[in-house]
Symmetry: C2
Subunit: 300 residues, 2 copies
Amino acid sequence: MLTVFGTMALDTTRTPFRVEEKILGGAATFAALSAAAFAKTGMVAAIGEDMPLVNIEAVRAKGVDTKGIVTIRGGKCFHYDSEFDYNLSSRTTLKTELNVIADFDPIIPEEYANSEYVYLANNDPRQNMKILSHFEKPQLVVCDTIEYWIKTARDDVIKMIGKTDGVVINESEARLLCNEVNIAKCARQILSFGPMFTIIKKGEHGAVLFTQRGEVFPATAFFLDEISDPTGAGDSFAGGFLGHIARIGKTDFRTMKEAVIFGNVMGSFAVEDFGVRRLLAITKDDIDERYQKYRNLVLF
Amino acid sequence: MLTVFGTMALDTTRTPFRVEEKILGGAATFAALSAAAFAKTGMVAAIGEDMPLVNIEAVRAKGVDTKGIVTIRGGKCFHYDSEFDYNLSSRTTLKTELNVIADFDPIIPEEYANSEYVYLANNDPRQNMKILSHFEKPQLVVCDTIEYWIKTARDDVIKMIGKTDGVVINESEARLLCNEVNIAKCARQILSFGPMFTIIKKGEHGAVLFTQRGEVFPATAFFLDEISDPTGAGDSFAGGFLGHIARIGKTDFRTMKEAVIFGNVMGSFAVEDFGVRRLLAITKDDIDERYQKYRNLVLF
């Protein structure tokens, strides 16, 4: 089983082409929906009473175990309001209302405790380390982090990374964390904190996997003519990546490379519509078909 | 035979790590050196009397036919002085001394007239169209262009593209030319000007090939831990691309995809040392070895 810990949010997302208010989002939602297409996945998140029930139903309908979703009495959902520029590549935060996640003390349902796989999304690194102690003996723990934590809790971010097996991080945040531009050097620095591998995500340019054994796997992104909303691409990548690993049950280099491609595939679906709408619509066949398409696309 | 028309320059290249003054460079030099490793290649360029003879010898020693290099009496070489920032990705032009290329009226040696393959580097589009009329019946003509011509002679750039079979262009310049951010849309617009294919180069992120038949091939760049000088990567890409096509003698999609990879390979060599130094040092075996390495690298 894979447990995903992160936010289940209501997002307001604005692009020059469309605005969608209070749609279902959040790192855990994207990651869990992506992972559930591959393996048994549970979600740990705090929500407020304003979360429309239909959203929980939708996530559950895609196979996500929702017992770990805690509704905070009298609370309001984490709300993230942001705006993309014309090329949908640079985002401006308009409002971040932490609400129920501000003082969330995460606990996990008993059935999640023996999860072999754990994904700690870009939460407070101290929260991530705390929840990690509730798992009995996970085989593979992967974390993400973001600018805010690197800037405000750098030591804890590094400490957290040291307690994980893998890091999935954006190129710009890897550079910030390591104070280094060259991503190969960033990767080596992150690996020096302890994990077995790190994946540097480069958005529309794909991702590069680096392992402690010195292996490297650069993968171009699935080629899309058009995207609607880049929100959640990274978490969907992480979900697809971990979902495939949980399904196969191995972490050899070949499986990890395939997992990177499934990560790319899930990220590519996520950006085709606003919020998690596309992830709610696709089938396992769609995923396999796109994986094959990707293989044919990059074949030479 | 492949004829390359462009600059043979003396470059002053400054990085935060090293400065090299008046070293051999120029679009034609990078492209011809890269192409000559694959197929018979001649070079058309104007140089001044200050070009050290040793540079001509070095290019000739790598198999480039130099009969098309014209020395302008009393003239000085095109000199480009530029400085890279710390991450070697953004370049500031300090000085552009056109010198002999300002009023160059290119002519081609008689033996070049029946070239099957022609590469028109980022020259004045009117010069490119003019030289093109000297070839008898080339099978494949490929051009590049840069910001300066797009800004000062946009109509001629489009007219030139209409006379070619393929365009190799940087991402940022494709966006400028097409006034469009999405590179798939840029590619379609460039294809609407007439060529059979276009390749959008994305620097360290690789390149994407688009054909008139709707085929797409995104290729990640060869992964390098460290680069020394990004100068000439694009022209080396074009040289490797055209060199492979000239060697195989076909332009089917499969050959073009292989050619993109050989382009990536040559670009990756070019950036490993200052100027053309690395291109002068490598052997055909080095190229084949890196091609195989690339294949293994991206395999999954």
